[in-house]
């Protein structure tokens, strides 16, 4: 009965990226194909192993035959596609997107954003100081999760993680329209009075840090959050027999954040409250 697992066999497709022929397995997105070919596109609302949100439009590329720019994170590679990732048009589009985003949303905790702003020569300040901006106080209504509307892109990844794509709790949803839209819970209640089960999966998928764990928020507020100094170790949750993998982020010998590796065969990037927050009990350093 011994078998060797080969995975699902997938056909390889031929396409060209910036004039170079490449092969990509059937079903991959253009973004994946680009990354496999060593081209790193800017991509904000894209989260590994999740359904693409296609909300930020930073990852746009040109596809021959298509009039509009195409979001690489959601478009699947097709045979014979001729894709241009770095044209005048894509650069221009990305620059505008960065300027609009950075002028309206607080991107101070968004990884990679400063480099992209520089790379594309974006000037978020060119709309003047009175450009419309979401200014909201952080919502701290419980000991575990913090919500900062002012940093939210409204990409909806958290809503999906909370709902049918992961938790199936459906505590979070996008309400309102246009600029006034925001992510929240029913009746704008405190999180503790909502359906939220505090799994924290929304934090893992949020690209901007609009959702964060309290321990990170507190350290950031105190000015002592030091990501480069953190050690990152993957281990297994100690709370129940499901055995989810956990990635522990450790600063000064304290676990300051727990994330879930998206490629874990057990948890697929999800956790529950016990895995996400149940580590504090071992931390007796005094």
């Amino acid at each position: 009965m011994t078998v060797t697992s080969l995975g699902v066999p997938r056909r390889l497709l031929d396409l060209t990226l910036d004039g170079e022929p490449v092969r990509a397995p059937e079903g991959t997105t253009l973004l994946d194909a680009c990354r496999a070919a060593g081209k790193d596109l800017p991509a904000l609302c894209h989260v590994d192993a999740r359904t693409p949100a296609s909300a930020c439009r930073l990852c746009v590329v040109e596809v021959a035959g298509s009039r509009a720019l195409v979001a690489a994170c959601s478009r699947e590679a097709e045979p014979g596609m001729d894709v241009r990732t770095d044209t005048e048009r894509t650069r221009h589009s990305r620059r505008i997107v960065l300027e609009l985003l950075a002028s309206s949303v607080d991107l101070s905790t968004t990884p990679g954003i400063a480099e992209w702003i520089e790379e594309y020569g974006a000037r978020p300040d060119r709309f003047g100081t009175d450009a419309a901006r979401l200014e909201r106080e952080p919502i701290i209504d419980n000991g575990l999760l913090v919500r900062e509307d002012g940093k939210c892109l409204r990409c909806g990844q958290c809503v999906r993680a909370c709902g049918g794509q992961g938790q199936h709790t459906f505590a979070l949803s996008v309400s309102g329209r246009g600029f006034g839209s925001r992510v929240g819970v029913e009746y704008d209640a405190p999180l503790t009075d909502s359906a939220c089960v505090f799994c924290g999966d929304c934090v893992d998928v949020c690209p901007t840090g609009a959702l964060s764990v309290r321990s990170e928020f507190d350290l950031r507020t105190a000015g002592t959050w030091d990501e480069p100094a953190q050690a990152v170790t993957t281990t297994v949750c100690g709370h129940c027999g499901v055995g989810c993998e956990l990635t522990l982020h450790v600063q000064d010998n304290e676990i300051v954040k727990v994330t879930s590796p998206p490629d874990s065969p057990v948890a697929h990037g999800n956790l529950c409250i016990k895995g996400r927050f149940g580590h504090q009990y071992i931390q007796n350093r005094d």
Binding site: T4, G143, T235, C240, V242, G243, I273
Partner: protein, 630 residues
């Protein structure tokens, strides 16, 4: 924040010893503490018991059982996991030879019927339940069998709200219905099982109408589940504490396995039996032989070939009989059969304090200064298996995964492996392991099921499931495919039907104790495992249905006294519409919160020694009004 929620115990940062019976614990050096531990254990040889830990790594559990067997010369080793898994292991091992769930998590996403039996997985095992929900989205039909209409049932096509303790009656009725309707998989039964005729006779009296009377589940609902399960191309039964915490937990597990044998829902992709463990390494503790009757890798202590292999690998003579299980060890503490105990990472004192006090010598090796530590002669501060040590743990789908050291332990706390080796050396066994990997390689050399799992492979392949006999292949994700083989020689031992009888709960309700109290978990209470200070939810409550709350005239938040035949405790009231009249629920571990030594019913599963936590008869009394003066 630095407390263990098991009772707010602080972390241990240095060894402690006691200079005399009535002296307090005092700080000691490692050398002094280990010398004393060695001295005490040496004297206790011949009456020793090792309590291993369902939270420690496989490597630690392996060394703990080896310590008992080689250094102390006894098979008296068991893990304090009796609440959650022993019954499953005993039941599965009796039928199939190895005590692990037969399916993998992934299969639940691609099956046709899922029966969650006595398992509120939505709350107790949330990440597993997400995968069940994927299956449901893919078209699987979900049934929940649970006295409470808990949140798992909200996702189910059918909820079978049985009376507490009537699981066997319900299972037998389902089995009878399957046979009567001609839905049994006769070819499978004929080729791969034994005892079918006896089983048929056993379940024959369990008509739908009798079952309805006994279990409280309407006959049509029982019939529907029976037909859905038996007709499905693939089907899974998953269970948790709701099944195994009964006084006859192993019997309930056997009754569920019977259904799989009857329908051939085992040994095929998507069809199987999936117990879910409460503790992170319950499975691993058993696999590593930290049980009185099995050596590492499920090898029987009495099997001559296995004995030979271990006796030569360990250069020792193994005691030629099974050791005492947990329940028996505690009993023998009273009669003098067990005089010295090494307790590793568990806290039995809240329910067993009296017996532990009767010991001549107690060593506690733990992260926390627990109430068991308070009774010890020597206390050795240890590390957290999952974040402060290297090693592996094994989850409910038999997947061995690497745990890694991410933080330094506090103070002088030391790795479990180092502690056990140091102690063994002091007792004349020169144990030297270069680290967890060296221990693991020894496990691989003595357990064929683990042989193929090198650390390097575990890392590269993100864990591997046992059995894994070779270093370059993987086995199918499900167990016991052999039962379907055409060649009888490959098919191997037949899987016997379990002939188990319905026995009503020991602790009967009557006029004095009219309410059935059942226990379980809420999402943010992880059994007695640690919880953070900042938990966003309410604390401990006794939950009643709205009707009962009205009957007793109590409201949410009111403190009441709940009294069983064994003790009483004061808690606040919560109202939960998932409950039915006559049924109360609590996450309280009554023994942890009570002064008496034995507050829950003392009946134990005769096979696995699981104490009955699921069905206590209680009464609820309003507290007298207190007037505060001043």
């Amino acid at each position: 924040m630095n407390r263990d929620a098991r009772g707010g115990n602080p972390r241990l940062t240095h060894p402690l010893v006691r200079d005399g019976r009535d002296e307090p614990l005092r700080r000691a050096s490692w050398d002094e503490a280990l010398d004393r531990a060695a001295r005490g254990l040496r004297r206790g040889r011949g009456a020793f018991g090792m309590l291993a830990c369902a939270r420690a790594t496989n490597e630690t559990n392996y060394l703990a059982q080896k310590f008992a067997r080689v250094v102390m010369g006894t098979n008296n080793v068991d893990s304090v996991d009796r609440r959650s898994h022993a019954a499953s292991v005993a039941g599965l091992a009796a039928v199939f030879g190895s005590g692990g769930g037969t399916s993998s998590y992934g299969e639940v996403e691609h099956t046709d019927v899922v029966v969650m039996w006595g398992s509120n997985a939505r709350v107790a095992h949330p990440v597993f339940f997400q995968r069940v929900l994927k299956g449901v989205h893919g078209g699987a039909r979900l049934y929940a069998v649970d006295p409470r209409r808990a949140s798992t049932a909200e996702w189910a096509e059918g909820w079978l709200g049985l009376n507490v303790g009537t699981d066997i009656a319900l299972a037998h009725a389902i089995g009878r219905e399957i046979i009567q309707a001609g839905l049994a998989n006769e070819a499978f039964v004929e080729r791969a099982t034994s005892g079918f005729e006896e089983y048929r006779a056993l379940v024959e009296p369990w008509t739908l109408s009798l079952a309805q009377k006994v279990t409280g589940v309407p006959a049509p609902a029982i019939r529907e589940l029976a037909h859905a399960y038996a007709r499905a191309e693939r089907a899974q039964i998953c269970w948790t504490l709701g099944v195994t915490d009964h006084h006859n937990g192993t019997a309930v597990v056997r009754a569920l396995i019977d259904l799989a044998l009857l329908t051939g829902h085992v040994g095929r992709e998507g069809s199987g039996l999936q117990p879910l463990c409460g503790r992170n390494n319950v499975q691993g503790a058993v696999d590593m032989g930290a049980v009185p009757h099995r050596l590492p890798g499920f090898q029987d202590v009495l099997d001559p070939d296995a004995r030979l292999r271990f006796e030569s690998a360990w250069d020792t003579a193994l005691p030629p009989h099974y050791g005492l299980n947990l329940a028996e060890m505690f009993e023998e503490m009273e009669t003098g059969g067990v005089r010295a105990v090494h307790c590793l990472g568990e806290n039995p004192a809240p329910s067993e304090a009296r017996r532990l006090k009767a010991l001549d010598f107690l060593v506690v090796q733990d992260m926390f200064r627990t109430s068991t530590a308070e009774l010890a002669d020597v206390v050795l501060p240890a590390t957290a298996g999952w974040a402060e040590s290297e090693g592996t743990t094994t989850n409910s789908e038999r997947r061995v995964q690497r745990v890694r050291k991410a933080v330094e332990p506090p103070g002088e706390a030391r790795d479990d492996i180092d502690i056990l080796c140091d102690l063994a050396r002091r007792l004349g066994h020169p144990w030297e392991y270069a680290g967890a990997e060296a221990v693991w390689n020894e496990v691989r050399s003595v357990s064929p099921d683990h042989y193929g799992m090198t650390y390097r492979r575990l890392e590269a392949e993100k864990g591997l499931q046992w059995p894994c006999p070779t270093t370059d292949t993987v086995e199918p994700p499900y167990l016991h495919g052999r039962l379907w083989a055409d060649d009888p020689a490959l098919r191997g031992r037949r899987a016997p039907f379990g002939l188990v009888r319905h026995v009503p709960p020991v602790d009967l309700t009557d006029e004095r104790f009219p309410i059935r109290l059942t226990t379980g978990r809420r999402l943010d209470s992880s059994n007695s495992a640690g919880q953070q200070g900042g938990s966003p939810r309410r604390g401990e409550f006794v939950e009643l249905c709205p009707e009962d709350a009205e009957r007793y005239g109590v409201v949410v938040g009111e403190k009441v006294q709940i009294t069983s035949r064994h003790g009483s405790v004061v808690v606040s009231v919560w109202i939960d519409t998932a409950l039915r009249p006559g049924l109360a629920f609590t996450t309280l571990r009554l023994p942890d919160h009570n002064d008496t030594d034995q507050p829950t019913s003392a009946a134990r599963c005769p096979i696995a020694g699981t104490a009955e936590y699921k069905a206590t008869a209680i009464r609820i009394d309003k507290l007298p009004l207190v007037t505060y003066v001043g």
